[in-house]
Amino acid sequence: MISAESNVHLVIGSQIENIELVQIVLEESLRKLEVGDDASHAISLAVGEAVANAIQHGNERDPGKRVEVDLALDGDDLVVKVADEGRGFDPTQLPDPCAPDNLLQPNGRGILFMNSYMDSIDYSFDAQGGTMVTLRKRLGAPRPEAPAADHKEMG
């Protein structure tokens, strides 16, 4: 999963506490790219959901199973990949958490968060079953309060 353009790659055990570790690395990397706090918060929330799903649903909290997280820049896009060693699932068969009947469900909003806070998310599944979600967000938009972060190297 480590691509040529990868800037930071992190492999963690399937412990819930490690979600924060991923977010710390992500936020520190975004800070160096001069990404604003609001954008950084949004990306961190989305990536946290992806890692939580990988740990809970993918690896079923098996401490021997790993979650891999890859941070890269593709032009002005931040690309985050989160991969687990689970059995996969069918993302087209999920209930809509915003449907009136589902509004009071305690779960089922993680992918909605990812979709809302990123420009795109894509699932792919390994022959052996593992899930990889690729989250993408454009960073290049010039922000009024600070110089644009275009063409900066990550990390």
């Binding site: 819930i16 506490e17 979600i19 924060e20 609001d38 918060h41 929330l45 946290g48 959901e49 939580a52 958490p97 915003c98 509004l103 009071l104 469900q105 305690p106 779960n107 909003r109 993680g110 909605l112 968060f113 809302s116």
Partner: protein, 111 residues
């Protein structure tokens, strides 16, 4: 994350501060609501002024709390949504479920 609790008349006010996310404060939120319900409180106001972020797990706890309180004939309302939290309630359409106030007196009077 930590949660401060205070009572104004019959209203139990919960004030979680910081991040409420999976493994960080989601359980504390559940317990604070549970305690309120156990102690017979039927009027619960969650003041989110100092909550910096909530993930889907924290939102799930808030919804469960709402359901628990409602099922026991009580009411759970929200006070002071910071922009990031307001965003999240918008995205999840939960803004249509919760009664939200931006003034404590009004919120208390509404129960």
């Amino acid at each position: 994350m930590k949660i401060e609790t205070r009572d104004v008349g019959e209203v139990r006010i919960l004030e979680p501060s910081g991040k409420i996310t999976i493994g960080v404060g989601d359980v504390a939120l559940r317990e604070a609501v549970h305690d309120a319900v156990q102690s017979g409180s039927k009027k619960i106001l969650v003041d989110l002024s100092d909550t910096t972020t909530m993930d889907s797990s924290a939102i799930g706890e808030l919804v469960s709390a709402y359901t628990t309180v409602t099922n026991r004939g009580g009411q759970l309302k929200l006070l002071n949504l910071p922009p990031k939290v307001a965003d999240i309630l918008q995205i999840t359409q939960l803004i249509t479920v919760f009664e939200v106030y931006d003034n404590e007196q009004e919120a208390i009077a509404s129960f």
